[in-house]
């Protein structure tokens, strides 16, 4: 295998021999495939909305280098560094989210973006991985110090984040954040009774949304009763998989990308299905499954409580987003705008995912022994 010598004791050398190279490889594959697929799907969208054909491709490429840098830089961190970045990132994201509510432009009916020096970004994307780290830390503190107030603080933070997201509004993101939090709480020993209560509460929240939020009503009705209304994007996407068949119509031969408004973002998976076929889709889904399952299985041997909670939080977030996106594309779930990690177009999302996965790689790095880890951490934090 290429790489630094085993005896290389530099930071890079140690990193190379301790990082989860298969997961790193899988993420690299996803980023590369994402770049190719954005190049395949977005020119048609760009042309339809009357901007330069390669606008989205260029912007995605522009974000790719920083994303790779963030991924690798984050993966160099020690668990302590991860925690610090998480806390700092969370504070920064929270401030930025409050700023979006105050000064963010209204785009598509929501205040989700901040525009600084002409660069538009979405603070809540950064909040997602950072909050997972903070939650993991608080649950760890609760467990170690046997102090329930840390758990209560985690709950209070969740409520604040959900409130900020609801004000934007961004219910999709809120659902992901809540799901990740409860996932971590579940791992942190939330009693099964409470898990049941959480599930019931989630269902209640969903039915409340169904009852009181008109567009949620509409989307769920459309999912349950496809004949009830216009369901253009989902129906078109669904048909794209059928048209593509096992091996697709061929690169560039697809037509859904020219009619689906979100062909380069939420419905990029359908473009893959049409042009490259079912086999390519299964390979992509398998790559996601590989990252998630391998990560979770590695955590099974993880002796550090914080690493376990933080790592699983990041993995759940990653896997949930991928599964929901593919599920919507395949009409297994009601329509919900969610991007396919690393594949869909989107700069903030790409950077945030790179950060999240970088932190995961940092957490899952092999530490020779806990003693050595302690020594390393001690050294790192000195």
């Amino acid at each position: 295998m290429m790489g630094p010598a085993r005896t290389d004791n530099s930071i890079i050398g140690r990193w190379w021999w301790t990082v989860d190279r298969l997961t790193l490889g899988a993420i690299g594959v996803l980023m590369a495939v994402g770049m190719i697929l954005v190049a395949a799907a977005s020119p048609a969208v760009a042309e339809r909305i009357g901007i330069e054909s390669f606008h989205f491709v260029e912007r995605q490429a522009l974000f790719l280098a920083p994303a790779v840098f963030v991924l690798l830089a984050a993966s160099l961190l020690s668990p302590i560094g991860v925690r610090r970045i998480g806390v700092a990132g969370f504070v920064a994201a929270a401030v930025a989210m409050i700023a979006t509510l105050l000064w963010g432009p209204l785009l598509n009916g929501a205040h989700r973006w901040l525009v600084i020096e002409g660069v538009q970004f979405q603070p809540s994307e950064l909040a997602k991985p950072a909050f997972a780290i903070v939650t993991a830390w608080l649950f760890t503190l609760q467990q170690r110090n046997a102090d329930w107030r840390f758990g209560a603080l985690a709950g209070a933070l969740l409520c604040s984040v959900l409130a900020l997201l609801a004000l934007q509004p961004d219910f999709g993101m809120a659902a992901v954040v809540a799901a990740v939090w409860f996932g971590q709480a579940f791992l942190a020993g939330l009693p099964l009774l409470w898990v049941g209560i959480a599930v019931v509460a989630g269902a209640a929240a969903l039915s409340a949304a169904y009852t009181f939020v008109p567009h949620v009503t509409e989307r769920i009705d459309r999912f349950l009763y496809p004949a009830s209304g216009e369901n253009f994007q989902v129906e078109t996407a669904l048909n794209a998989f059928a048209t593509g068949g096992p091996f697709g119509r061929g690169p560039g031969e697809g037509v859904v990308k020219s009619v689906l408004p979100d062909a380069h973002t939420d419905f990029i998976f359908a473009v893959v299905g049409e042009e490259f076929g079912m086999v390519a889709c299964i390979l992509i889904a398998a790559t996601f499954a590989f990252v998630v399952l391998r990560g979770l299985l590695r955590l099974l041997r993880e002796p550090d409580y914080f690493v376990l909670l933080a790592g699983s939080g990041l993995l759940v977030q990653f896997g949930l987003q991928a599964a929901v996106n593919m599920g919507v594309n395949l009409r297994l779930l009601p329509a919900k705008g969610m991007t396919l990690p690393f594949i869909s177009y989107g700069g903030s999302s790409l950077l945030a995912l790179a950060l999240g996965m970088g932190l995961l790689l940092a957490l899952t790095r092999r530490r020779v022994s806990d003693l050595e880890a302690r020594w390393l951490i001690g050294k790192g934090s000195a």
Binding site: P191, L238, N239, A289, L300, L330
Partner: protein, 588 residues
């Protein structure tokens, strides 16, 4: 800073956790919070649950992918649905034998996206060189307009498209469009009509059946609209009319061949005509359909109806005589005969010598009310039910006085289109059943409606044949086809009276007369006499010879078997003497 925790974990005794591995937890009591190892063990177990959940999710996604890839796509994923055509396709129109009269052709139209054009001046010059019909200045102003989209030229020829494509100019593109093409050109122009640049039918059958033709499914499986026309017969009629138009220096001409029983129009021609592929270049007169839209006074051909009416109501017998010794005066009008015999005439004589006086007297015996009813039964008093928007309504007197009865008896004071006259004529000769003219192959469904008795129809066949054998219609005969018919010559009406020397000359015929299958009608608009017609421009000299040639040429195409004109059966079937006898004397 976490060191104590790490140490604690290593020092922890595994036996301190409950032996069954279960963890007793109550979040309400902090004293019962789990120890580090218990918590870690539980987290590990629960990670397995989370992993299993994800494995399930991804398996379902994989299964769904296989399921969808194996399913049949809906038809609506075809590219055509995503790129709605600028113009909609129309169904083909064919003649009765499937010859295509109108079809859609996919052609390229040239457009520009001026915002993407890099050098408007140079691009305009290059385009103008490739498309010489387009002025440079106009092209340049379009390319410099800064608009998002602008048409440069619709419907390019393949050669033009290749030329422009070869230039490789940015911001210039082709849009495939459906263009309506009429392969037979002017031949069926007045029947088929045409459609505009957006493929909307705006004349003829194209307009009449516009909705049905547009309902044509995108799949291309739409059945063509099959007309009753026979392109071969249509060609014959048109050629003969064009020749006559030139020979007699006429302003125009109309002609038709109609199935005498079903009313199907085998040919329907009006000249001058136009190329429907280039409608814009056609003068208004060429676009005027003289066969169905124009109405004219039929003149003597109307005597067919008058005689049939008198015989049918029984007010006249075949051998009855009418006083034609002198012109007939009624109020301030005087009715003359063109070929005056100045004696009493039998019914066959009135017909064959085309006596206006005799016809007028005959009609007066029937009476105005019954005359009006008779013509209404033949369908001559209202707009004919033809599948064309260009169908002229007849001009009929509002108050039907005696003078009207008399003039209508010989075809004046009433006006109708050649098509309408021919339908009434068909009813008289086909055995007595009303005919509704149609352009659709197969004719109209519906029960036969008798309007004239079989016997009357039989006598009329004999009289019409007699007129061709011995009367004014001699030049209409065509050997073996037993043509029978009647001439008509009318002066054209102008404001306040008749225009001398501006005639509408016509000939109404059917063949074979012993059992008529086809009606042929020819009308010339303002023919002038020539040396070969001894200066005459009347129907017998101008229209009748055209009928003869049409029958001679179209008869074989239509599968009519020629017979021996002189054979005993034919003579027995068609004989009528001028004195009214219906069987040949012993001399034969």
């Amino acid at each position: 800073m976490n060191a104590p925790t790490f140490m604690a974990r290593h020092d922890a005794d595994p036996t301190r956790s409950p032996p069954d591995g279960r963890v007793r937890v109550s979040a309400s009591s902090k004293s019962e919070l789990r120890s580090g190892n218990d918590a870690l063990a539980m987290a590990h177990r629960r990670v397995i649950a989370v992993a299993a959940l994800f494995a399930l999710c991804f398996s379902v996604i994989g299964g769904r992918l296989v399921d969808l890839a194996a399913s049949k796509p809906e038809a609506s994923t075809r590219t055509a649905d995503y790129w709605p055509a600028v113009v909609r396709a129309r169904a083909d129109i064919t003649d009765r034998n499937g010859v295509v009269l109108a079809t859609d052709l996919s052609v390229a139209s040239l457009f520009a996206e001026p915002r993407l054009v890099q050098d408007p001046a140079r691009s305009a010059a290059a385009l103008a060189a490739a498309l010489p019909n387009l002025p440079v200045a106009e092209l340049r102003s379009k390319l410099e307009s800064g608009r998002t989209f602008v048409w440069l030229k619709r419907h390019l020829t393949p050669k033009e498209q290749a030329e422009v494509n070869r230039l490789g100019l940015p911001g210039i593109g082709f849009q495939q469009e459906q263009r309506r093409m009429y392969p037979v050109g002017a031949l069926t122009a007045h029947v088929v009509g045409f459609s505009d640049v957006d493929n909307k039918g705006i004349a003829g059958v194209e307009q009449f059946f516009d909705n049905a033709l547009r309902a044509f499914p995108q799949s291309g499986l739409g059945a063509p609209l099959k007309l009753s026309l026979d392109t071969r017969v249509q060609y014959t009629v048109r050629e003969e009319l064009l020749r006559a138009m030139v020979d007699f220096n006429a302003k125009g001409a109309a002609g038709l061949v109609m199935d005498a029983h079903t009313g199907e129009l085998i040919a329907l021609v009006s000249v001058p005509d136009f190329d429907p592929n280039r409608v814009g270049e056609a003068p208004a007169d060429a676009r005027f359909n003289r066969a169905t839209l124009g109405v004219f006074e039929p003149g003597s051909t109307m005597k067919v109806m008058t005689v049939a009416m008198a015989l049918d109501y029984g007010t006249a017998r075949l051998d009855e005589r009418f006083d034609a010794t002198k012109p007939l005066r009624i109020s301030r009008f005087t009715i003359h005969d063109d070929h005056a015999k100045n004696r009493w005439l039998t019914v066959p004589e009135v017909f064959v010598y085309s006596s206006n006086i005799g016809a007028a007297r005959m009609a007066m015996e029937v009476g105005g009310e019954r005359q009006r009813g008779f013509l209404a039964k033949l369908g001559m008093l209202e707009r004919p039910p033809i599948e064309l928007p260009e169908a002229g309504a007849p001009l009929v007197p509002e108050v039907w006085r005696d003078i009207n009865t008399m003039t209508i008896a010989f075809g004046h004071g009433i006006a109708m289109s050649p098509l309408q006259y021919a339908a009434g004529f068909a009813a008289v000769v086909n055995g007595g059943f009303k005919v509704a003219p149609t352009l659709l192959a197969g004719g109209r469904p519906g029960a036969k409606e008798r309007v004239v008795s079989q016997d009357t129809s039989d006598i009329m066949r004999r009289l019409l044949r007699l007129n061709v054998e011995e009367g004014t219609g001699k030049q209409a005969d065509s050997l073996g086809y037993l043509v029978g018919g009647k001439t008509g010559t009318a002066e054209k009406t102008v404001a306040g009276g008749y225009k001398k020397n501006a005639l509408v000359s016509s000939f109404a015929a059917a063949f074979p007369m012993n059992d008529p299958r086809y009606v042929v009608f020819v009308m010339l608009d303002e023919p002038t006499g020539t040396a070969s017609t001894q200066g005459f421009a009347t129907g017998g000299w101008t229209a009748a010879p055209i009928v003869s040639r049409i029958v001679g040429r179209a008869g074989p195409m239509l599968g009519v078997v020629p017979v021996d004109d002189k054979s005993t059966e034919v003579r027995r079937a068609l004989f009528v003497a001028l004195d009214g006898r219906r069987s040949p004397s012993a001399a034969f």
